[in-house]
Amino acid sequence: MSTLLYTSLLGLCCMLAEVLNLRKLLVPLVIIGLSFIFWVNFQEWNTPSDLTIGPVSLANMVMFDHFSIAFSGLAIIIAILLFILSANYYSNEEKNLSDYLSILIFALVGALVMFSFANLAMLFLGIEILSISIYIMAGSRRFDKRSNESGFKYFLMGAFASGFLLFGIALVYGAAGSFEFSKITQYLNSSDIHPMFHTGVLLILFALLFKVSAVPFHFWSPDVYEGAPVLITAFMSTLVKVAAFGAIYRLFNTAFVGIIPFTEPILYAVIIATLFVSNAIALQQQNVKRMLAYSGISHAGYMLIAILSMINKTDDALYFYSVSYAIATIGLFALVISTFKSNMSEQFEAFNGLSKKNPFAAAAITIFLLSMAGIPPLAGFFGKYNLFSEAVSAGYINLVIIAVINSAISIYYYFKMILAMYTKPADEKPLVITGSYWTVAVICLLLTIIIGVVPDSLMQLLR
């Protein structure tokens, strides 16, 4: 509860900082504030409010159980790492800094709501708080045509998805007579369920699949990723994705328990389409951001496997995958942003000969890519392993075989970057990596390796 309040307060304070002329200190203050919030969140772990334990807060609007606290912790850490990057990223845009930072903090608030809602209205609020912040940030380069296109496209498509979501919620309300999880579950347990309810669930599912950019709701993602400022791309590919998956899992695990058999064929088809389409298109990309967009879509495909096999209580697998995916992505972005800046290019050529210019950066990028591809003993391997294992246990072995084949295909485009770094001749432009980028890259590198070698405690967190 206090996590949510403090984060909102931090966002407000951040806006006030503009008045007090504290711009120089803003980033460190925000990071300290978020660290404090992380600590508060950590304290709540031992006293979770749960449907089974005690009263649900705020008129059954939100519920802070271990699931929401764990995911909130992850979201806060993602935010901290990205804010460290923002210190250098916005170094020559001091004028708008406090606005940018407060908008991003509100995006975090949206994510926190998406992990802890206990009421469909809150789900909608959370998604909107998150999305509107990101719409603004995607278009935040006002004089850059592509950034404008990106923000506008994301907003238009997102508005449609929100429409779907609202309509779906309305239908579910019409059938169940309530927004509350407990009432909806009661309704589901009753014998006759109105077809309206199923339609509503489907619409909600489609809206959420849009947010995670699963095929066939993915068309916005490459364009938006490409046009948005890189740091915002990093936000979208980590925070937004993790938040959306947290929301899907929570919704289907608490409100719509037992509806999975109904959505199973749809999810099954979506996963197969997501994996094949994203990987096939990623193979042909020349632009690194677009490649990462498609790779992000394929990761969404893997994470949907956890939703499909939810019957096994896969939140731990989903959480582990989210952690490993997020840290590898952020670490990769930290180095990719530097490379883009040094070379003024976002194509694969920007990475040519990086191993000669900066062997450590090349090795780190290689490790992040290998982790994303799921090569042991890095964090990404256990992420994939857990998902596959749960899916096999739930009886989806054919799906897992398709998933591993796609895993092998993905090597091809990840290695395109590695090959550019290790086999192409270097150009003259030196690679400048400033302090904050290094800090984030090294933190993520260590986490990727450590989580891969001793994954146990993270795996047991939600068990």
Binding site: S389, V404, A408, F415, T423, M459
Partner: protein, 483 residues
């Protein structure tokens, strides 16, 4: 603890070599791999006295899914450990006095590779084994990528994706068995004693697991990566691939296929055996037609390992003994052959057979040692390959006479392509490429001399090898024959 020391010494050495800088890396690498060899000899002595017990390690790693650091050696594992640690110093020594850029990284990767392969051989937990199996792919990929020939980029990528795809399928198979196991572990002893996996399931599990090994060995028709990768890799990379890494595949047939899915082996083993034999003949015929030295050796290796893999699938004790003996013999011979090829290519600048000739006239010492290695690999009596090949062919013969007839062609065809190669490169008159051929340097003489000695020693007295592996092979054979 012994097992841990053997495993971690190469990893430590790899880090030290990386830190030591280009100048000292090679000597440090040699020093550590020699120390590792001594440690292995010590382990062998302990093993002969006290058996498995001192080597077993059981340590919790991940509680659920239940994955433990479960390591140990039995006879077969120890043979593979000896093989790895015997070949590695030779491989490192063979890189001396060659101009290698970034030598410290090169030797660090070789030692890291040694570490990963040792891990494969001593792991008794399925997932741990899988992790080492994948880990071994990374260093060899970068060795071939950074120090390889002209087409290395495309060739190594194909190799990587091909082998990775196979291993991922194996992982799916293991996960399925994990859930079938009532205790939910990857423990080899439990997985190999499962009784609740019906033969209908084993039928497809066989293919999931077998394809991973068939790609690694490689067995025809999964071999398409092999010749290109062998010829594009730097010599040490080729030696690692052909000398040790493909033995990972054969070892895994013994350890992770036969006892795990016996009913699957009963159903599909004959087909796999036929593929192996087809590979023997097919690769021999291609080898006869080759005009490129490294490709010729690549296909000869393909033919030899086809026969070794066949020995595993005949499911009788002489075939399996032959496979075990021949694994060691093939490792020694193929490293020797690729080293000779490296010496020739390094001095003449060409690997085209038809530009060579007459080397015997200018380099008598090289001629003698090369001759010994060639005779070893055509399985002349008293050389190491003879025992192995005899046992293998006898095993195949016991299984089916007709298959043995085709497999037996390897003796004739092998002699044809090997002696043809020797004749074209060494005999006749010198060409412009070979006229200035210097005889062996001291380092080179040590490597080839050691190999020659090993060829004769293991050929004349193979008894310790057979005694070492026999108990393990019996255990595996018994498990494989229970359906």
């Amino acid at each position: 603890m012994m097992t841990i020391y053997i495993l971690l010494l190469p990893l430590l050495a790899s880090l030290i070599a990386l830190a030591a800088g280009n100048k000292f890396a090679s000597r440090l690498a040699l020093f550590f791999s020699a120390a590792e060899l001594l440690l292995t000899v010590y382990a062998y002595i302990i093993f002969t006295k006290e058996g498995y017990a001192p080597f077993a390690i059981q340590h919790a790693w991940i509680s659920s899914p239940s994955i433990s650091i479960n390591m140990g050696v039995d006879g077969l594992s120890l043979l593979m450990v000896i093989l790895t640690n015997l070949i590695s110093p030779l491989i490192i020594l063979s890189a001396f006095n060659r101009n290698i850029e970034n030598a410290s990284r090169y030797f660090a990767l070789i030692l890291f590779m040694q570490f990963a392969m040792l891990g494969v051989f001593i792991s008794f937990d399925g997932l741990l084994y899988y992790i080492f199996w994948e880990l071994a792919l990374i260093p060899i990929y970068f060795i071939a990528l950074n120090w390889g020939g002209k087409n290395r980029v495309a060739v190594t990528l194909k190799f990587f994706i091909y082998t990775l795809a196979g291993s991922l399928l194996m992982l799916v198979g293991f996960i399925y068995l994990y859930w079938k196991n009532p205790n939910h572990t990857f423990n080899w002893h439990e997985l190999s004693a499962l009784t609740n996996v019906c033969s209908c399931d084993q039928s497809w599990l066989f293919w999931l697991i077998f394809i991973a090994f068939a790609i690694k060995i490689p067995i025809v028709p999964f071999h398409t990566w092999q010749a290109d990768t062998y010829s594009e890799s730097p010599t040490q990379g080729t030696m690692l691939l052909s000398g040790i890494m493909l033995k990972m595949g054969i070892y895994s047939l013994f350890r992770w296929l036969l006892p795990i899915v016996p009913a699957g082996v009963a159903q599909w083993g004959p087909l796999a055996l036929t593929l192996c034999i087809i590979g023997v003949v097919y690769a021999s015929v291609i080898a006869i037609m080759q005009g490129d030295l490294k490709r010729l050796l690549a296909y000869s290796s393909l033919s030899h390992v086809g026969l070794i893999a066949a020995g595993v699938f005949v499911l009788n004790s002489s075939g399996m003994q032959g496979a075990a003996v021949q694994m060691l013999a093939h490792a020694i011979n193929v490293v020797g052959l690729f080293y000779c090829a490296d010496i020739i290519i390094n001095r003449t600048g060409t690997s085209n057979l038809y530009l060579l000739g007459g080397i015997r006239n200018v380099a008598p010492r090289f001629n003698t040692l090369f001759m010994i290695v060639v005779l070893g690999s055509v399985a002349l009596p008293l050389t190491n390959a003879f025992i192995g090949e005899f046992l293998l062919l006898f095993g195949v013969y016991t299984y089916n006479t007709w298959l043995a007839v085709f497999a037996g062609l390897t003796i004739i065809l092998g002699a044809v392509y090997m002696l043809r190669m020797f004749q074209i490169t060494m005999l006749g008159n010198t060409s412009e490429h070979t006229a200035q051929f210097n005889d062996l340097s001291i380092n080179e003489s040590i490597v080839l001399g050691t190999i020659a000695i090993l060829i004769f020693v293991t050929g004349i007295y193979p008894k310790p090898i057979i005694e070492l592996v026999q108990p393990t092979l019996e255990v595996i054979l018994n498990k494989a024959l229970i359906k």
